[in-house]
Structure formats: structure tokens, C-alpha cells
């Protein structure tokens, strides 16, 4: 197993390199540059700025410099927030996004799985229909609708939660964004869990367990759940990578200083260094969580072995 993990981490290096290379050149192919704006700059000022950021060099040289800096862990200064390096922006924002994303994911796995199991055990009964209806609604109503409704009800009408802001990380400031992030995930997990649980309950080993006279609780929790978890694990990996790196919609509406906004803002602003930072971060998260998923497979399913 350790060898497997080591091998996987080793293959991640060329993958990252390809991703960085593609991203570096693709963002520079996009028309316009970091210094095109409504108030245009004089040619002298633009030349000064380009010299400062090394944009006057040939593209291959810029790429070479970027790779060198990257290997030293230096993502360079942000073009649009020059008081901060890309590293500083992520150091400040990423923990915030991770906190919100991890809370939302945990809630989603916990509540979603429970609802899914309840639905599966009561297939085609009222409880099942209630879960399916809620799950369908939850996964179809977009976050940009859920978020303002939460603000309106909990913030303005009942005055239980603040409307927005991070509030130095106060618990009360996190409830709205976490709920908004979690609701659609709860819906998806519930649906997945329901489907795979029904399938698992129909499998041969469950029939055998029933024949052996095991209790319902033991059948569901010890035997059926284990098999039913596989699709959830496959889903949770990429979902974690996406949730932990923040959401521009939730961050913008709740005015949360996470990193989700950088994924969109950096590209729109042609903030080349910040774009590269976001690409590297999301690539690492994706690679890491795919690996975790694969390891969890082996933990959950005795049929999977990496020897």
C-alpha cells in the first residue's frame, strides 16, 4: 500500500508539470493583458509595468523564470493586488475556504447519507418520497438563489445570523455560507446513497445474512452500508477538491474572504501569476483527493487491493 501511494505521488509530478505548462501558455493566448483597463495607460507607463513584471521578455524565458520560482515555492506577486504575493493571498484565504468547505462536506456526508439510508429502507413509502422530493429540489435550486433566501430569512427577518462578512471567523458568520454550500451536496449524497443502498440490500451477501438471521441493524450498518459507500466515496473525492477550494458565488454573496473568487477574478483580470496559483492549487487538491479516494476504496471494499 505504501509503495502504491509513493508511486502515485511520483506520477503526480509530471501531471502537475503538464498542467502548469498548459495553463501558462493558455492564459497568455487570451486577448488583452493585465494592464488593459477602462482608463488606458500611456505607452511609457505600460512599458514600465511590463518591465517590472518581466512581461517584456520572450515567452519561453518568462516560462523558464516562472518554473524556477515555482520550484522554490515562489508564486510571484499578484498583478492586481500588488501588495500581496500569490502565496500570501492563498495563505490568508485558503484556510477560510477549507473551513467552510470541510464543514459543508461533513454535513453533506452525514445528513445526506442518513437521509439516503432512510429512503432506501423505506423504498416507495412516504419517507422515501419525501427524501427524493427534497433531494431533487435541493440539487436543482442554484446556490445564488439559496444564499439570498438564507440572508433574507435568517439575517433580516429573524435577525439570527449576520448577512455577510467573515467576522474574524466567528461561528455565527459561518452558518449561512456552510448551509448554502452543504444543501446541494446533501441532496446529491442522499440520492447517491439511496440508490446504492437499495442495490446493496438486494445483493447476494445481504440475502445470505438475512438467511442467517442477523438483526436488521447489523445487516444495514455492518454489511449493506459498506458496499453502498463506494459510490459516495467516488463522489466525495472530486467534491472535496471543489468544496475546499472555495466557491465564488458563496464568497461573493456572503462577502467571505476565501480563495474561490480568485479562480474567476484572476482569469478575468488576466492576473497571470494568480491564475497560475489557482491552477496549481486546484491541481494539487484534485490529485490528492483522487488518491485518497483510491485508498479509501481499499479500506471500504475488501475486494480492492493495491499490492
Amino acid at each position: 500500500m505504501l509503495l502504491y501511494v509513493f508511486r502515485r505521488l511520483l506520477t503526480a509530478i509530471p501531471t502537475l508539470f503538464v498542467i502548469v505548462t498548459l495553463a501558462f501558455f493558455l492564459i497568455r493566448v487570451a486577448p488583452g493583458g493585465p494592464f488593459n483597463q477602462e482608463r488606458g495607460l500611456s505607452p511609457e507607463v505600460k512599458a514600465n509595468l511590463e518591465a517590472q513584471f518581466g512581461l517584456g521578455d520572450p515567452l519561453w524565458l518568462q516560462y523558464w523564470h516562472y518554473l524556477q520560482n515555482l520550484l522554490h515555492g515562489n508564486f510571484g506577486p499578484s498583478y492586481n493586488l500588488p501588495d500581496f504575493t500569490v502565496g500570501e493571498l492563498f495563505a490568508k484565504g485558503l484556510p477560510i475556504s477549507i473551513q467552510l468547505g470541510a464543514s459543508a462536506l461533513t454535513l453533506a456526508l452525514l445528513i445526506g447519507s442518513t437521509l439516503g439510508i432512510i429512503a432506501a429502507l423505506n423504498q416507495n413509502k412516504a419517507a422515501d418520497y419525501a427524501v427524493i422530493a427534497t433531494a431533487t429540489a435541493g440539487s436543482t435550486i442554484p446556490t445564488f438563489v439559496i444564499a439570498p433566501i438564507i440572508q433574507l430569512l435568517f439575517g433580516l427577518t429573524w435577525k439570527l445570523l449576520p448577512i455577510g462578512g467573515w467576522g474574524d471567523g466567528a461561528l455565527i458568520n459561518k452558518i449561512g455560507p456552510v448551509l448554502t454550500l452543504a444543501l446541494p451536496q446533501i441532496a446529491i449524497v442522499a440520492r447517491l446513497m439511496r440508490g446504492s443502498m437499495i442495490e446493496s440490500l438486494r445483493s447476494h451477501h445481504i440475502r445470505t445474512a438475512r438467511a442467517l438471521g442477523l438483526s436488521d441493524w447489523s445487516i444495514v450498518v455492518k454489511h449493506a452500508l459498506r458496499g453502498a459507500l463506494l459510490p459516495i466515496v467516488s463522489y466525495a473525492g472530486p467534491a472535496a477538491a471543489a468544496l475546499l477550494t472555495g466557491s465564488i458565488i458563496v464568497e461573493t454573496i456572503f462577502a467571505i474572504p476565501g480563495v474561490g473568487r480568485y479562480f474567476v477574478d484572476a482569469a478575468l483580470n488576466r492576473d497571470y501569476t494568480l491564475v497560475m496559483g489557482t491552477v496549481v492549487v486546484i491541481a494539487i487538491f484534485t490529485i490528492l483527493f483522487n488518491l485518497i479516494v483510491d485508498i479509501l476504496y481499499a479500506v471500504v471494499d475488501p475486494r480492492v487491493r493495491y499490492d
Partner: protein, 530 residues
């Protein structure tokens, strides 16, 4: 297993959510939570490019001159000044005893250093152009002269002399701009690029920097060393960026924000009904216009350009598309500049129906009709309101047989295309004044100016603009010449002005001293909160 899973989850949720505690402000402090629509880019006065930096920097730094609550020029770091008879040499007497927030004295040398740093190519200041009326400034910025050759010198610790290339009647207005604030030479030399970080940054204004969490808040605290600290009523100013305007309105309503500077225009009518005079919509020195490529057929024909301009119903745009958050525009220079009379288009007074008839006649005369429709493409940068404006114009021009197509690109692509003199018919642009003077709206149409997207090239206009520069020492004559230049620009349809900007703030009734003015400047030092 489920039990373990349950326990682990409950633990994880509580752990990940409990990462902070509520911080309650002490009661004695007066805290002003000042909402803004965007995050400032930098707190280095020489690296700014938007109004969001201007608001914060205005509270932290004090230029040679500054503005009062109504944005009138008043003495700042300089308590008095004299101007030479030819209008080119300004001598400023600095306030004696004034200090930086770390207690060291503010000297003329600090200003010399700041102005040199602004022009130094190594600084790469976007707003270097603000001070390029200063002798040798352009050359220093282009790298052909050394920063030490800039026409700024410290006569003694409290006397600063600035030499200009030509008399510039609006020079004091320029000196209220954030790019002209002093910076502490000692702090920059000590901390390098990190001098802007909280703890390192020293300033000479009413407030100093306490915290900056990007995209969350900038906390400024009252500077006890500020010369007029006795009259500063607010102890803490939190600048709180809230990009989502609808959220910002809810935050305002819930009392999380005491003011906000960019209302959602589509909700303006409802907001006015709900909040009454807390909603402040007032003219702002800015013009929303369409550039029209005057250097290429068929747009090289002034009559044709005029027909298009005439047919656009600006009242409709202002009222229906922008919910009166903008005002109809017929001139490049908005009204509101004292002493200047704008030169609106000749058709401004005519009814829309008459204008459409006149436009139709011109088009017929030029041979356009059902068999030979005039085709026009409008380029605009991504924004719901820019799109709606272009669609409305498309509909307005349809009855005239003009086939308008729309092309939307993101802001960087849009301005990249315009700056590189790319091909287009008509393109959206806007101009907001940095200083209170008509010239800023007119020089962007000069032949050699980088913002002359229309390729406007008119000798008479150039000549009048030159004459206005030469008349720098005589303000009345200068304004008259600028007015004539604007008339040429409008008659020749070098641009199609569509709307004047209004600013739209919402201001809590708890705040006093937040005065409306055309520059939309509201220094916190003149504001108080009950």
C-alpha cells in the same frame, strides 16, 4: 462503524466551524463601517488605479493640499503657498511640527522623494501621468532623465518648490489626487515592498492602517499625531468590500454597514421608495460614451456619424435602462465644473421624433435604404447594463434601417482591442475625471492620445486645445477655448456621448458630514456618527 462515523463527523463539523470567536467592539469607540463595492488594489499611493484605493488613502495620507467635506481645495500638509507671476513655480510652506504616525517629522524632502518615486520607471506607477505637468516628469518616467532631475526641490525642511512646464490652473486640484500623497522615505527604505503592511505603514493623515485582510476588511484607526486630531470624530473606520450589491443592501439594512458606495441600479426605484433620502444620487464627473471609428468608411463621414448620434434616444437609456442612475448626455464634459459652460450637440433641444426624421433624411441622402442598409457593429465589455444599453440602441436604430449587430467581450479583451487600434465600428467607453477640470474629458480625443479610440484627427480641435494650454495663466480665456474645442469635437462627432454618470451612495441617518459633491469624495475625518 456508523457510530464512529457519526462521532467523527460531529467532531469535524464543530472543529471546522469553531475556528474563531466573536469580537465585540468596546462601547466607547465610534466605529464607522464603510461599505464599498470593491477591494482596493494597493495601499501604496504610487500603485493605485481605482477610486477604491482613493477612499482609503484619503483617510490615511495628507497631500500638500486636501479637500473638505464638499471637495473644495483646502490646505493640507502645506499651510500656505505662493505661485509665481507666470504660474509655473509653486512654493509650499509645510505645516510646522507635522509628523508621520511614527512621530518623525514630515519634511519637504519626503515630498521630493514621493514625487520622484512616482515618476521613477522602476516604480511603474499607473498614475505617473497625474504629475506630468511638473518639469522633466515625462522624461524621468520615460527613463531619459534621472529622478533627481525632476522639477521638485526642498528649499529647506519646511519649504517645497515645484516647477511646472506650463501654467496649469488646475494644479491644486491635481494635488488632491491620491498619487500625489507623500510617502515616508525612511519606512520604504527600511521595509522595501513590505512597507505597506500593517505595522510597517506610516502615514501623515487622520488615520493609520491597523489591519488588512484582503476581501474582508481594512481597519483604520485614528492617528493621535494628526495635526487636526481634536476634530476627528470617528475612532475606527472599517472599509468593508461587498462585491454583491444586493447583499450589500441587506447588510446596510441590518446595520452591518453604515454606508455603501454603489447601489444596484436595477433596484434604484425600490430603494428610493424604501430608504428615502438615505439614497443619494447626484451628478458625478464622468461620461459614458461610444467611440466611433472616424478613420474608416463609412464612419469617416461626419454627417453619417451625426445621424447615428441624433437617432439615439438618450432619455430612454437613462430612464429605462439605467433607472435614472445616469443622466442623458449631449456633450463630452459633464456639467458641474465651476466656470465652464459645456457645448451640447445642436440637436439636444429637438424632440426625439424630429431627430429621427432628420437622421432618416441624412441616411436617404447618403444612399442608404432598404436595398442598401447601413450595417453597424457595437462592441461592448461584459456588464448587464452595457448589454442592455447596446440592445436598446439596436432597437432604436432599427426603424431607420440601420442593421446593428452586437459584440460582447470581457473587459480586458475589449480595452486591449481598442488600445491596439483594432478594427471596429462603434465601441463602448467611459471616462471619469481624476481632477475637477474640463481638459481631462477633452484631451482623450487628441490625435496622439492613447485613449483616442475614435482616431479623431481634427486640426482645428488640436489648435484650440494647444491654445487653451497656452492660455493656462488666464482661467477664463482657457475655459472659453476649451469650450470651443468641445464644440468642434461634438459638431464633428468625434465621440458619441450617451450618458453622464451619477454616483449613488446610501448613507445612514446616523452619519453626519457625508456631503454630496461632484467628485464623490467623502473624507472620514469630516464625518461623525451618533
Amino acid at each position: 462503524m456508523l457510530k464512529k462515523f457519526l462521532k467523527a463527523t460531529v467532531f469535524a463539523v464543530s472543529l471546522s466551524m469553531a475556528g474563531g470567536m466573536m469580537i465585540a467592539p468596546s462601547l466607547a469607540e465610534v466605529v464607522y463601517n464603510r461599505g464599498s463595492a470593491a477591494e482596493p488594489e494597493s495601499l501604496d499611493p504610487h500603485k493605485t488605479s481605482t477610486v477604491y484605493e482613493a477612499h482609503v488613502l484619503r483617510d490615511m495620507f495628507l497631500g500638500l493640499v486636501t479637500e473638505d467635506a464638499k471637495s473644495e481645495v483646502i490646505p493640507g500638509a502645506a499651510e500656505s503657498w505662493t505661485v509665481s507671476d507666470d504660474g509655473t513655480v509653486y512654493t509650499f510652506k509645510l505645516r510646522s511640527g507635522a509628523t508621520w504616525s511614527d512621530g518623525s517629522p514630515v519634511t519637504a524632502e519626503d515630498f521630493v522623494y514621493a514625487f520622484q518615486r512616482l515618476q521613477d520607471p522602476k516604480t511603474a506607477a499607473e498614475y505617473a501621468s497625474m504629475m506630468q505637468k511638473v518639469k522633466n516628469a515625462k522624461e524621468v518616467n520615460a527613463g531619459t532623465k534621472k529622478p533627481e532631475e525632476l522639477g521638485v526641490k526642498a528649499i529647506d525642511a519646511n519649504t517645497l518648490e515645484i516647477t511646472l512646464v506650463a501654467p496649469t490652473p488646475y494644479f491644486l486640484e491635481v494635488l488632491t489626487h491620491q498619487s500625489t500623497y507623500p510617502v515616508s522615505k525612511a519606512a520604504i527604505e527600511k521595509f522595501g515592498a513590505d512597507w505597506v503592511k500593517p505595522g510597517n505603514l506610516v502615514s501623515n493623515g487622520a488615520y493609520t492602517l491597523a489591519e488588512w485582510v484582503p476581501n474582508d476588511h481594512i481597519k483604520l484607526v485614528k492617528n493621535p499625531k494628526f495635526y487636526d486630531a481634536a476634530n476627528v470624530k470617528i475612532d475606527v473606520v472599517n472599509y468593508i468590500p461587498t462585491e454583491d450589491r444586493s447583499s450589500a443592501m441587506k447588510r446596510y439594512e441590518a446595520g452591518e454597514l453604515d454606508s455603501y458606495d454603489d447601489l444596484p441600479t436595477e433596484q434604484l426605484t425600490d430603494l428610493k421608495a424604501k430608504f428615502g433620502d438615505q439614497v443619494r444620487v447626484a451628478p458625478y464627473l464622468g461620461t459614458y460614451y461610444y467611440a466611433i471609428k472616424t478613420s474608416k468608411a463609412p464612419w469617416d463621414n461626419v454627417e453619417l456619424r451625426n445621424a447615428v448620434s441624433m437617432a439615439i434616444d438618450r432619455d430612454f437609456l437613462a430612464e429605462k435602462v439605467w433607472s435614472n442612475s445616469m443622466a442623458p448626455a449631449y456633450s463630452m464634459v459633464p456639467s458641474g465644473i465651476e466656470g465652464y459652460t459645456t457645448s451640447p450637440a445642436a440637436f439636444a433641444e429637438e424632440s426625439q421624433i424630429d431627430r429621427e426624421d432628420a437622421a432618416k433624411k441624412i441616411l436617404e441622402k447618403l444612399g442608404y435604404g432598404p436595398d442598401k442598409p447601413l450595417k453597424m457593429e457595437i462592441r461592448y465589455n461584459t456588464s448587464e447594463n452595457h448589454k442592455n444599453t447596446a440592445v436598446a440602441i439596436q432597437e432604436q436604430l432599427k426603424p431607420l434601417g440601420i442593421e446593428v449587430t452586437l459584440l460582447n467581450t470581457d473587459t480586458k479583451t475589449h480595452y486591449g482591442h481598442l488600445e491596439q487600434k483594432g478594427d471596429f465600428d462603434v465601441a463602448r467607453a467611459g471616462w471619469i475625471a481624476d481632477y475637477n477640470d474640463p481638459e481631462t474629458f477633452l484631451e482623450i480625443s487628441r490625435k496622439a492620445d492613447g485613449h483616442n479610440y475614435s482616431d479623431f484627427d481634427n486640426p482645428k480641435f488640436e489648435q484650440l486645445m494647444d491654445a487653451a494650454t497656452a492660455a493656462g495663466g488666464k482661467p477664463e480665456e482657457r475655459f472659453k477655448l476649451l469650450g470651443e474645442a468641445e464644440k468642434v469635437l461634438i459638431d464633428e462627432v468625434g465621440n458619441i456621448p450617451l450618458l453622464y454618470y451619477n454616483y449613488h451612495n446610501i448613507v445612514s441617518p446616523k452619519l453626519a458630514g457625508f456631503e454630496d459633491n461632484v467628485m464623490d469624495r467623502h473624507p472620514s475625518r469630516f464625518i461623525s456618527k451618533e
